[in-house]
């Protein structure tokens, strides 16, 4: 007779797996990827491919020769890191810098801490910020989007809408005078603006986010708290002085906010566990982003905000526990 199998209860498990979750995220990134290919053409495809391949290669090499542990490069997490890293760089970035970014993202951001599930910081953002600090010139050189572009080099570059706005306001110009210099809101929503490869189209990212919400890969708490706090924060300043501060909608659909709120901040490994904690985390990200955007040296603050909040995650996990069943209700 067969040997019986013994294990503790429960004896059934969901068919959900790490792999399925990861590939679900990859699938949800497709719309944004297509938009980026449309506007940045071959360069975007090349950078995305380079990032994905080199992320997987570094993960393989480190797991095989340094950690000497089991190989998990096919679980999809390295692919996500690769895509998100590519999404966070301008399409004119030299490919060797993309490779360095991948090495840092996987090597420094993930494997140093022991691999999947143990990294405190979002690996793609670690790679991005490393590149940002290391190659500030190349990382702030934004090619203008051209439909069906096939050009690889010598494309026209220009500042991002956020940079235009920040520069203008710091010169004392009025917001109303600066707005005509940037693409209209419909274009901003569709992605027809300068910026990193994957962050340009808010619409495509929202589409992917909705897919992830339906598949229950992410919960609504972090994106909602993040975007909500950005709206409130920028809204307050906009109401106080509309000549110096642009309206919340502009902040929502420009820069990497959508990408950050929906893909970066919601990274399971580096976000808090409880719903309450996720709300706090989202609000923290939103406030920090706006503080950097309005008062900091950089026009964009999403990466830094999320990384800073990543560092607070253990604290948030300690301080914001889920609501316990039968929790003693304190009577005033």
């Amino acid at each position: 007779m067969n040997k019986l199998i013994i294990s503790g209860s429960p004896h059934v498990q969901t068919d959900e797996s790490v792999k399925k979750i990861m590939y679900g995220v990859v699938l949800s990134l497709v719309p944004a990827m297509l938009v980026s290919f449309y506007f940045f053409g071959l360069a975007a495809i090349l950078i995305t491919l380079t990032a994905v391949v080199s992320c997987m290669a570094f993960e393989f090499v480190i797991q095989k020769y340094l950690i000497k542990g089991p190989l998990t490069i096919l679980d999809g997490s390295a692919i996500i890191t690769g895509i998100l890293l590519a999404f966070n760089v301008p399409s004119s970035l030299p490919l060797w810098m993309v490779v360095i970014g991948s090495a840092v993202a996987i090597g420094m951001g993930k494997m140093t801490f022991g691999g999947l599930g143990k990294n405190p910081f979002n690996p793609a953002l670690v790679g991005r910020v490393f590149l940002m600090i290391s190659f500030p010139v190349e990382m702030t050189n934004w090619p203008k989007p051209i439909a069906f572009s096939t050009q690889l080099t010598d494309v026209v570059t220009g500042p991002t809408p956020l940079a235009v706005m920040k520069e203008g306001v710091s010169q004392g110009e009025h917001v109303a005078d600066i707005l005509p210099e940037v693409p209209g809101y419909v274009n901003l929503l569709l992605g027809n603006m300068g910026g990193s490869i994957g962050e340009i189209s808010a619409l495509a990212i929202i589409l992917g986010g909705l897919y992830m919400l339906v598949r229950k890969i992410i919960t609504w708490q972090i994106p909602a708290a993040y975007l909500g706090s950005v709206v409130v924060f920028s809204g307050v300043f906009w109401l106080i002085d509309p000549t110096q501060y642009v309206d919340p909608l502009f902040h929502l659909i420009t820069g990497g906010l959508m990408l950050g709120a929906i893909y970066m901040a919601t990274d399971m490994v580096t976000s808090p566990m409880s719903h309450r904690g996720q709300l706090v985390f989202g609000i923290g990200c939103g406030v920090l982003t706006m503080v950097i955007r309005l008062f900091g040296a950089y026009p964009e603050g999403v990466s830094f905000a999320i990384l800073i909040m990543n560092a607070f995650v253990p604290l948030i996990n300690k301080g914001f526990k889920p609501k316990r069943f039968g929790e003693e209700v304190k009577h005033g």
Partner: protein, 194 residues
């Protein structure tokens, strides 16, 4: 422990920066280039050896309770001497390291060795310990400086290898932490395989 061992321990086995994790403030602060690290290392070595000598000479005369203040005064004096002499005769080096020279006073490596070694051992051992530790410190700072200079500016000891800029992050403070972290990991690996 033989004196040779006493001398060599500072390089890898008990390297003050990589293993004992002492004197990290200058290790992180001044090592933007290999030369800076080297200069700072030598300055520290001088202070270390001198204070070790003096401390080991007068150790039996110092009451326990004023031990630390006395050591600090001795160390601070040597640091000031280094500073004055350097400014007078090596103005270029002083320009590069000036800000960090006074920090040698609070470099826990110097006080640490005075307290843990020189106040217990004879003068010869203390000198050798100071030299060993100092050279180990110099080695560590030079190595870290070289790594940061190489990655950050594409140069070593000022000799440029590549055109243009390197990875700027290694010139900045985060690069110091990253570089130090991975060097410590490397040293640990080496120590493990030995």
């Amino acid at each position: 422990m033989s004196q040779i061992k006493n001398f060599t321990k500072g390089f890898v086995k008990e390297n003050p920066v990589f293993v004992l994790l002492l004197g990290l403030c200058p290790a992180l602060g001044v090592t933007t280039s290999a030369f800076n690290g080297f200069g700072m290392g030598l300055a520290t070595t001088f202070v270390l050896v001198s204070s070790n000598i003096v401390v080991s000479l007068i150790k039996s005369q110092i009451p326990d309770k004023v031990r630390i203040p006395s050591f600090i005064v001795i160390i601070a004096s040597f640091v000031t001497i280094v500073q004055l002499v350097m400014e007078a005769f090596l103005p270029d080096l002083f320009k590069a390291l000036g800000l960090f020279i006074p920090l040698i006073v609070v470099n826990c490596l110097v006080l640490g060795r005075a307290e843990a070694f020189a106040s217990k051992k004879d003068t010869l051992s203390s000198v050798i310990d100071g030299l060993g530790m100092g050279f180990g410190f110099t080695f560590a700072l030079t190595l870290l400086g070289a790594v940061r200079e190489l990655l950050g500016q594409g140069a070593i000891f000022g000799y440029s290898f590549i055109q243009g800029d390197g990875m700027l992050v290694f010139v900045l403070a985060p690069g110091a932490f990253i570089g130090l972290g991975y060097l410590i990991a490397l040293i640990n690996t080496i120590k493990k395989t030995e």
